[in-house]
């Protein structure tokens, strides 16, 4: 058998495929795509991605509470309810506060093979970036 003959026969293979209805296939595929796009907004993130976020939020709340407590002890006047900050974002924390948040997470900073970097070596921006990356 030569190559030409083999290719001629190969073109006849898979005739069972002729039974597949393109219209029915189009309907089924579009229905599945629609069903999937309707489900997408309600899809929840997997639990393993949620847990670190909860821990970071809890740690940030603790730091915020500590900062507030220290300021209240220090300050001569007690602020009114309207003046109390209701939330502290990571960008508002000082380097040592960010460090304490990381410590509370038991997080070990990644160490490069050639240049070891400890948490203490990071500046405020780097610590903020690290915490934000942990938030997911």
């Amino acid at each position: 058998m030569n190559d030409h003959e083999l290719e001629r026969l190969a073109k006849q293979l898979g005739r069972a495929g002729d039974r597949v209805d393109p219209e029915a296939t189009a309907r089924a595929v579009l229905d599945r795509l629609k069903a999937e796009s309707e489900q997408e907004p309600s899809v929840r993130a997997p639990a393993w991605t949620r847990r670190p976020l909860v821990r970071v939020a809890a740690a940030a709340a603790l730091v915020a509470a500590t900062v507030l407590g220290v300021e209240q002890l220090r300050g001569p006047a007690t602020p009114t309810d309207a003046e109390l900050p209701v939330a502290v974002s990571l960008s508002e924390l000082a380097a040592d506060e960010l460090n304490s948040v990381l410590d509370s997470l038991d997080y070990e900073a990644p160490v490069h093979e050639l240049v070891p970097v400890a948490l203490a070596d990071l500046n405020e921006d780097e610590l903020t970036a690290l915490l934000e990356s942990l938030e997911g």
């Binding site: 026969l9 190969a10 293979l13 898979g14």
Partner: protein, 182 residues
């Protein structure tokens, strides 16, 4: 539900761009256009009673990851590569199931005297069985090239290999098939 019809003929690239922008009419036209060759490819690769589901699964996967289609391979060849992976997944899940025997109607030659028809049918049956026994890469390259008429360049692109490797796989496949059909 009726599937929307496009206003006029468009090439694959235009339809893909329209689908990326959310046009369902374009998606339906792509499915209509590519279902027959894809179904033949999958049937020749060994899909049987699950063929309808496999064709749908392949097209569904393709539309979901349409952003990764770069247009360097033809859409048709790209679909076949996705279909081949879907078939592999299906076989992995269905390991141990009984094999459905070949249907004579699938192998029927259309014209000719009874003796030639019988010979042709026998050859096709043996070829079909031999193709299914090829290593997956050789089978995909052989079918894309010999059954679908794709160029080596687009086969290599779709199967994420080099043109040289695609040529080697094709020639290895031809050598094995000829040996089986002697």
């Amino acid at each position: 539900m009726t599937v929307p019809e496009p206003a006029g003929p468009a090439d694959d690239a235009q339809l893909i761009a329209a689908w990326r922008a959310g046009d369902e009419v374009a998606a339906a036209e792509l499915v209509r256009r590519h279902t027959p060759p894809l179904a033949r490819f999958l049937a020749a690769s060994g899909a049987r009673e699950d063929l309808d589901d496999l064709v749908q699964e392949t097209l569904f996967r393709a539309f979901r990851k349409i952003e990764s289609f770069r247009g360097t391979a033809s859409f048709s060849t790209w679909l076949m590569a996705i279909g081949s992976n879907a078939l592999k997944d299906l076989r992995r899940r269905a390991k141990g199931r009984t094999v459905v025997p070949l249907d004579d109607r699938e192998l029927e030659a259309e014209d000719g005297d009874p003796h030639s028809l019988a010979l042709e049918r026998d050859l096709l049956r043996r070829l079909e069985a031999a193709v299914k026994k090829l290593p997956p890469m050789q089978r995909d390259v052989f079918l894309m090239r010999a059954q679908q008429g794709a160029e080596y360049g687009e086969i290599a692109e779709a199967l994420e290999t080099s043109v040289g490797a695609a040529r080697v796989h094709y020639h290895q496949a031809v050598k094995r098939l000829k040996a089986k059909l002697k």
